[in-house]
């Protein structure tokens, strides 16, 4: 007992934990990292194209039913050279970006307000969830009736598709703000404005980003619905038009561009989300 009594103080007056870090053994070059990250995907894609080409050579199907990669590439470069490809991409992306801009400018503040005010939440949530669950294509006939076949109908369908997930996410972000953080801010004398700007808004940022990500993918789907069914111009319309002309190679070419655009939008929104939620424990994918 005497021994523990004398040993006690030294044992407990340990210094604060020192930084347990050291430089990594060897920094990989950017090329090496790129190769590691993208290499397998690129390789798999090359193998896929190779198998596609091989199966065309072996089975020799009717090109109207099943074109080969060479044919698709020819159609793609033809459309790229004569400008129809870029016209379609611009047409689609114009409606997409205007629609997304409207959705963000209106949706984010609206979501924040609904999150802050329980009464507004009670009033609006049945409509929001109803709209969220309803397939957007059901709106297409009404939209045509009101807006005709121009760019407006596409923009509005993007807005109607994208704004709901954005509003719902922002609302959730505000409502899930940790009350202990609010209390801590209040204990330092934070007023309503500071509570909002220094606690609620930063807490909601990752939610906003994930709402935007959902909004982008849903907005893109909304855009395609209109382009494919109503024929307003843009990539979807080109796909449908090629199909009607039995120009399958061209249809494949435009569909490939469509997939590339979708990939681009998804990776853009992922990066946005990762950036906004870099402080969170979960690694957002």
């Amino acid at each position: 007992m005497a021994a523990t009594a004398t040993r006690g103080p030294q044992a407990t007056t340990a210094a604060a934990e020192p930084p347990a870090r050291r430089p990594a053994k060897r920094q990989k070059s950017w090329f090496e990292r790129l190769l590691r990250k993208r290499g397998p995907g690129v390789l798999a894609f090359a193998v896929f194209i190779g198998l596609w080409h091989l199966s065309i050579l072996v089975f020799d199907p009717n090109p109207i039913l099943f074109p080969g990669p060479v044919e698709v590439w020819d159609e793609w470069s033809k459309a790229a050279v004569d400008g129809t490809m870029w016209a379609a991409v611009t047409n689609s992306m114009y409606a997409m970006s205007i629609g997304m801009a409207i959705s963000l400018v209106v949706g984010i503040p609206l979501g924040l307000i609904i999150g802050m005010s329980p009464t507004t939440d009670l009033i609006t949530s049945p409509y929001l969830w109803g709209f969220f669950a309803m397939p957007r294509i059901a709106l297409a006939p009404l939209m045509v009736l009101w807006l005709g076949f121009g760019a407006e109908i596409k923009i509005w369908l993007v807005v109607l598709s994208a704004i709901i997930p954005i509003i719902l996410s922002c609302k959730d972000g505000v409502q899930t703000t940790d009350q202990s953080l609010v209390r801590a801010a209040r204990s330092f004398g934070a007023g309503r404005v500071q509570l909002f700007t220094k606690v609620i808004a930063p807490n909601t940022l990752p939610f906003i980003a994930s709402g935007v990500r959902n909004g982008i993918s849903r907005g893109f789907v909304g855009l395609l619905i209109i382009e494919l069914t109503v024929g307003t111009g843009g990539i979807g319309t080109e796909v449908i038009r090629s199909m009607r002309d039995l120009d399958t190679g061209r249809m494949f070419a435009f569909t490939a561009t469509l997939i590339a655009l979708a990939l681009f939008l998804v990776s853009l929104s992922r990066q946005l989300e990762n950036y906004a939620s870099r402080w969170r424990e979960e690694v957002a994918l």
């Binding site: 009594a5 006690g8 407990t12 210094a15 934990e17 953080l181 204990s187 004398g189 402080w279």
Partner: protein, 293 residues
């Protein structure tokens, strides 16, 4: 050498004065009113370390929130340095049990959070923040996020965030309850050293009896709900206190006395158990305090 400085707090000015404080919560679901605190009277003097212990749910944290200005009492009056409490003011700072750090802020930015809220950011802020980060032993972690830190380190950030506002009263709400036993002991020792240099009075909520006896000048034992002061115990153990102090018979006597007061208040203790424990604890009470109840 610190002993006289630590013990003449009784002659100092009153820092906190609570008179007949009651706090009630409306329970709308049960259509009743919960009385968390009733007729709560307490004085804290300048430079004093006051620990409040009580059974869980007794309202001891509620009292801290009243002093902090976060909860409004239904009745009674509370003054900090002679000024009635109407809300949070920069003269008080709170250290929370769950740390309550902003997860999107680095250590450095978390520490300056309080100053930002109080609108006191100026050219000296950076140095001040660095000074207190160093004081709590977190130099080198300025740019870490809370999720990268252990519980003990997070609470160091919480302590630095409170201290950097240079409060005249430090309120600590079970600050070490969520860290492991080893870290807790280290934190207790460091807290003692830190407050010896900063000097403000502290109200320290805890349910750890050893912690209270180790740290406090006085221990206020609170009754089960509705919370009232059951007894205030002076801790006359010499400072600095360490783990070795716990071997002193005086320490063990004090601990036993606080335990006795607390266990008779424990809400889960049935009357039969109380009778048994009273018989069993009789010897310890006698040996301990020499009868103070």
């Amino acid at each position: 050498m610190q002993v006289p400085a630590q013990q003449d707090y009784r002659s100092r000015a009153i820092a906190v004065e609570a008179r007949g404080v009651s706090v009630e919560y409306d329970l709308s679901r049960e259509k009743s009113t919960l009385i968390a605190l009733e007729d709560f009277n307490l004085e804290v003097r300048e430079g004093e370390f006051l620990a409040i212990v009580g059974p869980s749910g007794c309202g001891k944290s509620t009292f801290l929130n009243v002093v902090a200005g976060l909860v409004e009492p239904a009745a009674g009056e509370i003054k900090v340095y002679g000024k009635p409490v109407t809300g949070p003011e920069p003269d008080r700072a709170v250290v929370f049990q769950d740390y309550a750090l902003m997860p999107w802020r680095t250590v450095e930015k978390n520490v300056r959070f309080g100053l930002e809220m109080q609108g006191r950011v100026d050219s000296t802020t950076k140095d001040k923040v660095a000074h207190y980060i160093k004081m709590v032993g977190l130099s080198g972690f300025e740019n870490s996020y809370p999720r990268e830190l252990s519980g003990g380190m997070r609470q160091r950030v919480g302590l630095a965030r409170a201290l950097v506002t240079e409060p005249r009263l430090l309120l600590m709400d079970e600050p070490f309850a969520a860290v492991d036993a080893m870290t807790r002991e280290i934190m207790q020792e460091e807290l003692t050293k830190i407050v010896a240099t900063t000097g403000q009075p502290i109200i320290f909520i805890t349910h750890g009896v050893d912690e209270a006896v180790t740290l406090a000048d006085r221990i206020a034992v609170v009754t089960n709900r509705p919370g009232r002061i059951k007894e205030i115990i002076e801790v006359d153990l010499p400072r600095p206190r360490s783990r070795a102090s716990r071997q002193l018979p005086e320490f063990q006597a004090l601990r036993e006395r606080v335990w006795q007061l607390l266990s008779s208040e424990h809400p889960e203790r049935s009357e039969a158990e109380m009778a048994v424990s009273a018989a069993a604890g009789h010897h310890a009470t006698d040996a301990g305090s020499g009868g103070g109840i």
